[in-house]
Symmetry: C2
Subunit: 187 residues, 2 copies
């Protein structure tokens, strides 16, 4: 009779579970290690166009550089008097919500030994332009409602997956809001 050993996989869902366990243990023992400051710069490019640059962040108080400087342009469709050369900021925020929910769920699945094979998401948000065009102050300026549909192939129940999708930072921001302070300086 032979004995078959099943080595503990070091990677699950494409994530290094050995390093993940060490990272989670470190943050659980010292919450300050989990502090992150994300940032971006944006500049107006004329008309309805802007361009953003994302190149660094701070992790546990230490400034870090991304491997590359990432750029994201925005525009509005022609029906909104734009030039339709890029997606709109509102579409970008919706896709960020879907991407954040998927990434958070897959990441937390890896930490719990749950294999994920595929995730597809559709996201949609309703708004009415008479709010942000300041035509009617009874109409809210932002989305009145956002809906997502996830199609997931994973070794977990839908309820377990729902619980892990709920851990998403952007879902928290979208559903609960966040204090936003801004200052305006003359150039």
């Amino acid at each position: 009779m032979t004995t078959t050993t099943h080595p503990i996989p070091t990677t699950r869902n494409g994530i290094d579970c050995t390093r993940q366990a060490q990272t989670l243990e470190a943050i659980a023992g010292n919450h300050a290690l989990g502090d992150v400051r994300f940032r971006a710069t944006n500049h107006w490019r004329g008309g309805t166009r802007t361009g953003s640059c994302i190149d660094g962040y701070a992790s546990a108080g230490t400034d870090m550089k991304h491997q590359n400087s990432f750029t994201i342009d925005s525009d509005l469709p022609e029906g909104f008097l734009g030039t339709d050369r890029a997606s709109t900021p509102t579409e970008q925020a919706l896709q960020a919500l879907a991407a954040c929910m998927t990434t958070t769920m897959v990441y937390n699945c890896a930490a719990r030994g749950i294999e994920v094979r595929s995730v597809e998401a559709e996201v949609e948000g309703n708004l009415n332009a008479s709010g942000f065009l300041l035509l009617d102050d009874r109409v809210r300026k932002g989305f009145s409602q956002v809906r997502l549909r996830f199609t997931i192939d994973a070794d977990a129940t839908n309820d377990e997956l729902r619980h892990l999708l709920q851990a998403s930072p952007m879902l928290d921001v979208f559903t609960h809001g966040v204090p936003v302070d801004f200052v305006v300086a003359a150039d």
Copy 2:
């Protein structure tokens, strides 16, 4: 004595003000013309990577196509066990907030005869990973605070500019939240 006529400019801040005035009048007269449904799809690309596609939206109940299909990839930095090949969803949402505030302000300035010459924005958000990693349910999962700094060259006071930046759809969502419904289907 000669009379100098000053023709009404048809473009202000790069926006066609003649068409803008017609658009605003039409929506003011019939709010349903201002209804928009923005959408995106996202798929998991393994590990910490996702990819989004943005190609259409609905305006006043009519399905519209963007001129191009826009893609946005996301990833996490190596310190978060990612491959750092794209910006994070949280960074993408922050830049979308800044882009939305700038676009909304410039657009509403054009409608009010206010010339804008330049806009730069910096945006930053704090979060602590022990929330979304489900290590401590007393720590919120999303940003605890978001800060922006705008540097604007325009023919308006800072108070007028603040008022028009406040009209941003994404600022409304970030500060007040929005009902988000999601469903999970097994693949």
